[in-house]
Each structure stands twice: as C-alpha cells, then as structure tokens.
C-alpha cells in the first residue's frame, strides 16, 4: 500500500481530489434537511487499512455523513466515492454498517437473524450460518445461538449487531458510535476485533464523541462541528502541530496559580488532575514556580494537548 494520498488540511475550499485508492472519499458534500444544513461542504479521505475517526459534538452531522456514505441518503451536492469509484449500490456488499440506533428483529432467533443479514450482503445461506456460528463462538454467544433476540441482554444484542455488520467480511466497516452502551469488558472485545480487522487491511470509519477512544484507536480524524469540518488529518501530526503547549498538574492546596492570566490561557479540571493550556509565549518553568509557591505538587508534566483539549478548542473556535 504505497499509494500516496492527498489529504486536504484546509477544508475551506474543496480541492478536487484525484481518484485514488482511498476507501472512502468525500468532496464538497452537502446535505440539507428543509432549512437545516446537516452537512456543509465536507471533504475527507480514508486510507485503506486505517481506522478513521469522525468526531464531533452531538448533532454535528456525524450520523448524517455516515448515512450518505452508506447510501441511505444521498448528498444534495458534492461527491462520495467508495474504493476509488463513484458511489454505487453494488459497493455496499463490501461495506458493513453499524448504525447508532441499534435494532434487530426481536422475535427472530439469533442465528437466523445473523444469517439473514449475511445473505442480504450476498453470502450463500450455509456460508452465512457457518460464519454466524463462528462469530458467536468468538464473542461468547455460542450458548445463545437458538434463542430469540428478545431473550438476550442489551449487551449481547449489541454484540449480535456488531457481528451482523462484519459477517460478510467487508473491506470497509462503518460504525456509528460503536462503543456507546457497551460495558468496558465488551468494549475491549469489540476494539480488539476492529484493530485485528485493520491489521488485516480492512478500513474502518467510525464516529464517536468520546475523545479518549478516538485518541487510542484512530490514526486519522475529522473533527466536525455544525456540519463543517474544523480539523482533519493525521492525528499524530495534528497533535504535533500544537506543540508542547499543555501541562498536566496534580496538586494539593491552593489553586491560585491557575488564575495567572499571563501564564494560563485556559484550564480544564478533571478532578484528579488539571490540564492547563499555556498562554502564548508563556514559559512552563514560570508556571511551575508559581504553582509550587502556593500548592504541593505531585505531578507536573509538559505534554501534547489531549484530543479532548484540541476538540474543545476547535469547537469553541468555530462557534465563536
């Protein structure tokens, strides 16, 4: 996979992208419901074999975007291409989709249900059943094969839904908030499957509003707010561009130093520690002195901004 990809860092003006082998390519996509602009002039590309995060606050347009990629709705303007070709329904057989609003036929038996979803994606009946059995075993559902969906717990239903999305071994996996509603143990199971898939060359496009997850999983992100992209590209590069402008401080005692406008542009108290964004031109050493003068420090760490900080900063910036 030595194909070069053109990534648009500035998204203000859509640059016509040459057709490449990107798994998903959006250029200048716009979607309007009535008067409400759900997605506005959005462009990004997802490299094969990577995990790409679509981030943004609630109502930013993540789900609207994913629905257009999967062909449930069509963009009002702009283009979407899958696997380097303009969108076609036949591509959908190579795509697996996990919608944010989970849903299964409650009265259907688990294996029947999975086989049905697999066959809709083009698998032959016996093959679909075989794979469904295999995955149920992998994810600890083997004892529930013959049960009806309504007899399963919420978490199990989530897993069933997840299996349904990957049963046909799609090249592109699209997941809308895949971890919402999962307990930590199951979230880890799901994450492992996703990482394994990416290692096997599958492309994963997921949306989330949980920055910590995106930070751990994704190699590239697109941050959208109010339907527009505010930040897009390789996560490592985005963070590096921000430099070591943040400090994590764990302390006991007086928090007066946080009010030093000269040193601290903003801070975010996480309870166990505070993440401080240094004022432009401020020296971290000076902050250390100010902090140690009034409080007892147990940690003082100069670091790249967390994705959450970047997110809040970007969203505030674009809302302003």
């Amino acid at each position: 996979m030595l194909l070069l990809l053109v990534i648009t860092v500035s998204l203000k003006a859509p640059i016509p992208l040459p057709s490449s082998a990107a798994s998903v390519e959006l250029s200048g996509v716009r979607k309007i419901y009535d008067e409400f602009v759900a997605v506005d002039d959005l462009s990004f590309g997802v490299k094969p074999g990577t995990i790409y995060g679509l981030l943004g606050p609630n109502g930013a347009g993540k789900t609207s975007t994913l629905r257009m990629v999967i062909g449930i709705t069509a963009p009002d303007s702009g283009h979407i291409s899958l696997f380097g070709q303009p969108f076609e329904r036949s591509h959908l057989r190579r795509v697996g989709y996990l919608p944010e609003e989970r849903g299964l036929y409650r009265k259907m038996k688990l294996l029947d249900h999975l086989a049905f979803l697999g066959r809709l994606k083009g698998l032959a009946g016996p093959e679909a059943l075989k794979r469904a059995r295999h995955w149920c075993e992998q994810l600890g559902l083997a004892n529930w094969n013959g049960k009806k969906v309504e007899e399963l717990s919420k978490g199990m239903q989530q897993k069933v839904q997840f299996i349904g999305a990957i049963l046909h071994d799609p090249d592109l996996i699209i997941m809308d908030e895949p971890f919402s509603g999962l307990d930590p143990a199951n979230a880890v199971v799901l994450k492992d499957v996703l990482l394994e898939s990416a290692k096997n060359g599958k492309t994963i496009l997921l949306s989330t509003h949980r920055m910590d997850q995106a930070e751990r999983l994704c190699s590239s992100i697109c941050l959208i707010n109010r339907g527009r992209a505010v930040l897009e590209g390789d996560l490592g590069r985005i963070k590096a561009a921000r430099g070591h402008s943040h400090v994590q401080i764990k302390y006991e005692g007086d928090s007066r130093f946080l009010q030093e406008r000269r040193l601290v542009e903003s801070f975010n108290d996480y309870g166990n520690y505070v993440e401080v964004r240094l004022a432009p031109g401020a020296d971290a050493q000076e902050l250390l002195r100010a902090a140690s003068a009034s409080a007892r420090l147990t940690r003082f760490e100069l670091m790249e901004p967390s994705l959450e900080e970047i997110f809040i900063e970007a969203v505030n910036g674009s809302n302003a």
Partner: protein, 432 residues
C-alpha cells in the same frame, strides 16, 4: 430481485412458524365446524324415538296416516331445509306410531294417563269429527316445538286432502297429479345462450369474494402495517437499508405478508370446501353453482390485486405513523373505500351496465369488488376488464413506491406523526 426474495422469505417463514399462526389456521376451521355441527347434534340428542298413538275413527284411515307420517319423517322431504331436516337426517330415529280406532272418552282418559306416566310420548286426536271441524289436536307432555308441529300439520294436511279427494271419487293417481307442486326456475340469457340458475350460485360467488377480500384486507393488511411499524420502532430498518433499498424492503414485506394471508385462506378454503360443499351441492338453491374457469381466474386476479393494493395502503399508514394506535386511527382511509364497494355491490348486481357503474368498476379502490361482481353478473367487454385490472395494478405499484419513499425518510424522524404538508415535502426529496 435477490434481496426482495430474501425479504419475502423472511417475512413468510417468521410468520408461518409462529405458534399463533398454526393455532389460528387450524383452530378457526375446527371452531366453525363445531359451531355448524354441534346445534344439529344437540337437537338429535334431545330427540329420542317418539312413541305416539293415533286415534282415528277408522283403522284403515289410521294406517294410511301412519304410513305417510313414517315415510315422510324418514325421507324428510329433500325440498326442505332448516334445522329440523338436518337433525332428522343426521340420525333417523325409530319412531313408533300405534293406531287406535276407538275414539271414546274412556280411551282418552287412558291415553292421558299413559302420557303422564311416560308409557307413550303423545297422542293425536284425529277423528272424523275433528277433521270435519278442521281442528286436530296433538297431546303430549311438552309442547311440540315449532318444527315438530309444522311438520305434523303439513303432513296431516296432505293426507287429509288426499283422503277427501279420494273420497269424492278421484283416482289416487289423479289426486297425486293435482297435488303436485309447481316449481319456478329462472333462466338467464347470456350472449344469446340460456344459462340456467336461480341466481343463488351467483350470489354466493359474489358474497364469497366480498367476504374474503374484506377479511383478508382487515386481517393481513394490518399485519403489514404492524410489521412496518416494528421495523421503524426497533430501528432494524437502518441496518436493512445498508443492504437493500426501501422499495425492495417494501415489496418484499408486502408479498411476504400477502403470502402468509393466502396460505391461511387456502388452508381454510380447502377445509371449508371439504365440509360445506357436499351439503351446498345437495341444496337446490345453489344448483347453478358451476364456477366458470374465467370467473375463477378473474377472482384470483382481482382478489390478489385488491389485497395487495389495500395492504400497500396499510404499509403507507405504517410508514407515516409511529404507533399502532395512530395507525388504527387512520384505518378509515382503507375502510371507507371498502364499505363504498360493498354498498355499491347491490346496484352493480341490478344494473351492471350503466355508465356510472362501468366507470366505478374502473376506479382502483373499488374495482377489486365491483369489476368482479360485473364479471359474475354479466360479463363486460374484455377491454374493460383488462383496463380495470391494469389501473389496479399500476395504482398498487404506485402506492408501494410511495410507501417505500415515506418509509425511508421516516427513519430520520421519530416521535411525532408528520403532518400532511410534511409528508408532501418528504416526497419531494428526490433522493432523500
């Protein structure tokens, strides 16, 4: 096509496999059979063989009456129907009739005590005087039921009439000839050919169509609506839409549920046919129930198309509502055209060729019933039948596509029922 087939399969198998479907399919005919057979059975159970004494002035006349009554009770007049006949036929009872030619007061007292003690069931005071007075009385412990007393008076009248006429010197054959009833039968002329029949059979064909269409639409149409609502509310729709188009989903669902309904109807028809046809065939009122293959074909086509159209309308209702209660409030949209068709049926049967009727039978929502009635009553020109079926098929397809569109956009909106302007706006989204 592949997707539609998969969806049809799922809809069909998931429904047919449910316990409620199997129970309902088998239980309803069983209940119907019990309801038809039980009353007759009960009636015969209550009727033991009767022991009656006939008191007449002469033994010879008594014997004549006895014979007549016994044979009449046995063959029980094929021309009659009613519970009395059914009961008698179901279990021929061994009635005993004694003749007593000694009409004295002491005899009457004796018979009365015998009735009271249960030695006999009753006695009939049929003396010449009583006949002359035109007043014959049957004495028994219980009042004879209506069937029993009308049977007695009918048969006695015939015997007495026979006796009076023979007494006046007529030969028995002449009397038989005189008493022979006249039967009126009607002959319909269809395209210059005589078609026999009293109209009972035609009426039956039309009634079966109306009943089947109405009940199939109300039973299974609503399950189309329910299944659309289920997919929307359980949010499984969005997963499906990532594999199939909403038109595929809608088409598959419609045909799948329709097939379930048809399965049940076929099972019921076969069962009903096995039970009801023999007795219908014996009933002379339906002697013209000779179903023409053309009529059968028309029945199939118009029933199927009508069923699909109304089911598609239910699907649209399912697509624009969010709960079953809301859906049921909108049902009038479906019931009104059905009821109008039912009301129009009478007019169509009487005057199948007035312009108003001809055009009504072209309107898709009425044509399933009205065009079929016209075909049965007096076959209309072929072009009218074809045009009517074509319009019906097109409207059905149109309704299906409309439903599919609303259905797809419906996933974006939950919670409240859209207003009509909103629905119209949805339809305008060319690609949602």
């Amino acid at each position: 096509m592949h997707n539609i087939w998969l969806i049809v399969q799922r809809e069909y198998l998931e429904r047919v496999r449910t316990r409620s479907f199997i129970v309902l399919t088998l239980l309803i005919p069983a209940i119907m059979t019990v309801m038809m057979v039980l009353p007759a059975k009960l009636a015969t159970l209550g009727q033991k063989a009767q022991h009656i004494v006939l008191v007449t002035s002469s033994r010879q006349f008594g014997e004549t009456v006895r014979k007549h009554l016994l044979s009449a009770a046995e063959t029980s007049n094929e021309n009659q129907h009613g519970s009395e006949t059914v009961a008698r036929r179901a279990a021929p009872r061994q009635d005993v009739i004694d003749v007593d030619a000694d009409p004295t007061e002491s005899k009457r007292t004796l018979l009365r005590s015998e009735v009271a003690s249960g030695a006999i069931d009753g006695y009939l005071w049929l003396t010449d005087q009583a006949i002359a007075a035109g007043k014959v009385t049957y004495y028994s412990r219980s009042l004879a039921d209506f069937g029993e007393s009308s049977f007695l008076s009918r048969e006695l009248n015939q015997v007495i009439l026979f006796a009076r006429l023979t007494k006046d010197g007529l030969a028995p054959e002449q009397v038989d000839q005189t008493l022979k009833p006249v039967k009126v039968s009607s002959v319909r002329i269809e395209r210059g050919r005589e078609v026999k029949g009293s109209g009972g059979g035609k009426f039956l064909e039309v009634a079966v169509m109306a009943l089947l269409l109405y009940s199939a639409v109300l039973f299974y149409g609503i399950s189309v609506m329910r299944s659309v609502l289920e997919e929307k509310n359980s949010r499984v729709l969005e997963v499906l839409l990532s594999s199939a188009t909403s038109t595929e989903l809608m088409t598959g669902k419609l045909f799948g549920v329709a097939a379930v309904g048809l399965t049940q109807i076929v099972v019921w028809s076969v069962m009903a046919g096995a039970i009801a046809l023999p007795s219908l065939a014996m009933n002379p009122a339906y002697s013209d129930l000779e179903i023409h293959p053309g009529v059968l074909a028309a029945f199939g086509i118009f029933f199927l198309l009508g069923y699909l159209l109304y089911s598609a309308m239910y699907a649209v209702i399912g697509a624009i509502t969010t709960t079953e209660q809301e859906g049921q409030q909108l049902q009038f949209v479906i019931v009104i055209p059905l009821v109008i068709s039912l009301l129009m049926m009478v007019t169509v049967v009487r005057t199948p060729n007035t312009p108003a009727v001809v055009w009504m039978s072209m309107v898709p929502f009425f044509s399933p019933l009205l065009m079929f009635v016209r075909i049965v009553v007096q076959t209309p020109p072929l072009w009218q039948i074809v045009l009517s079926a074509l319009l019906l098929a097109l409207t059905t397809a149109g309704t299906m596509v409309l439903g599919a569109r609303i259905y797809r956009i419906g996933i974006l909106i939950y919670g409240k029922r859209p207003t009509l302007p909103e629905i119209l706006k949805w339809l305008k989204y060319a690609n949602a």
